[in-house]
């Protein structure tokens, strides 16, 4: 594989995934937590495409396409929920959100 090799791609994917997990655990702003979740999606797509290249399957590309689709749908719903949170109360910290009232 050009440049990094299989191990390099796997390491990059693992580091990005762990950065996403750490972002969800450490940060309390809902927007940043959603972005950390998107980081995890990207790391998973990189891993899937790496192993698709390793074995020569195009099924990995379909899987990565589904990752992008589901990530986009989840970002849309997540942002709508965040807008609702900010509409009812000025909640910039997920510790302050007690109930979602419409």
């Amino acid at each position: 594989m050009s440049g990094l090799g299989i191990e390099g791609y796997v390491i990059v994917s693992a580091v990005l995934f762990v950065l996403g997990v750490t972002g969800v655990l450490v940060r309390r702003s809902p927007l940043v937590m959603l972005m950390a979740i998107e980081l995890m999606w990207g790391a998973a797509a990189l891993l899937v495409l790496t192993f698709g290249r390793l074995f020569g399957y195009m099924d990995a590309h379909v899987f990565a396409f589904m990752i992008i689709v589901v990530g986009a749908a989840e970002a849309a719903i997540g942002l709508a929920l965040i807008v609702q949170m900010f509409r009812t109360k000025e909640a910039a910290d997920v510790d302050d959100v007690r109930a979602l009232r419409g």
Partner: protein
């Protein structure tokens, strides 16, 4: 060629660190866009040209723009900042420790194997034609489910945003 891939990998990780370290949400979005574009470069280097293209157009081009719109609409008056101290004492430190432990576990599990040499690729691997053939011939059910999921997400967003007045 390989220097570009190494630079893209470093930029992707730097963007990931920028997402969780930025104090202002707009900086986090910019760092995430950097990560996604660097990931697209890595995709193309791994032979997935169409996926790299889709990543830039759809993920970095549409989803991140949605983030920027929401952030700019929500924080027009003031920047939302978190509490300086978490309600859970020691949350940040515990989060970093858990992250390091998870990284050690993942790297141990993944690097223990000896990976085979990359297989000889079929002609046209990663092009639009090969992707379309795979999507529409073998995985057409997955395509229908993706369409259904997107429609449900769109209807859900409209329902969530409708005011009851």
């Amino acid at each position: 060629m390989s220097a570009i891939v190494v630079i893209a990998a470093v930029l992707a990780i730097a963007g990931g660190i920028g997402v969780i370290a930025a104090r202002v949400p707009v900086h986090s979005v910019l760092a995430l866009i950097l990560t996604l574009v660097a990931l697209a470069v890595l995709f193309i280097a791994a032979g997935a040209e169409y996926m790299g293209l889709l990543q830039v157009i759809v993920y970095a081009g549409a989803v991140m723009v949605m983030f920027v719109f929401v952030i700019s609409l929500l924080t027009a008056r003031r920047e939302p900042v978190e509490r300086p101290q978490s309600l859970l004492p020691g949350q940040e430190r515990a989060g970093y420790v858990v992250g390091l432990v998870l990284l050690a576990g993942l790297l141990t599990a993944m690097l223990r194997h000896v990976y085979p040499e990359p297989a000889a690729l079929p002609a046209g691997y990663g092009t639009v034609r090969a992707f379309g053939t795979a999507l529409f011939h073998e995985h057409v059910f997955v395509l229908q489910l993706a369409a259904l999921l997107l429609m449900v997400a769109a209807v859900g967003v409209v329902l969530l945003m409708a005011r009851r007045s």
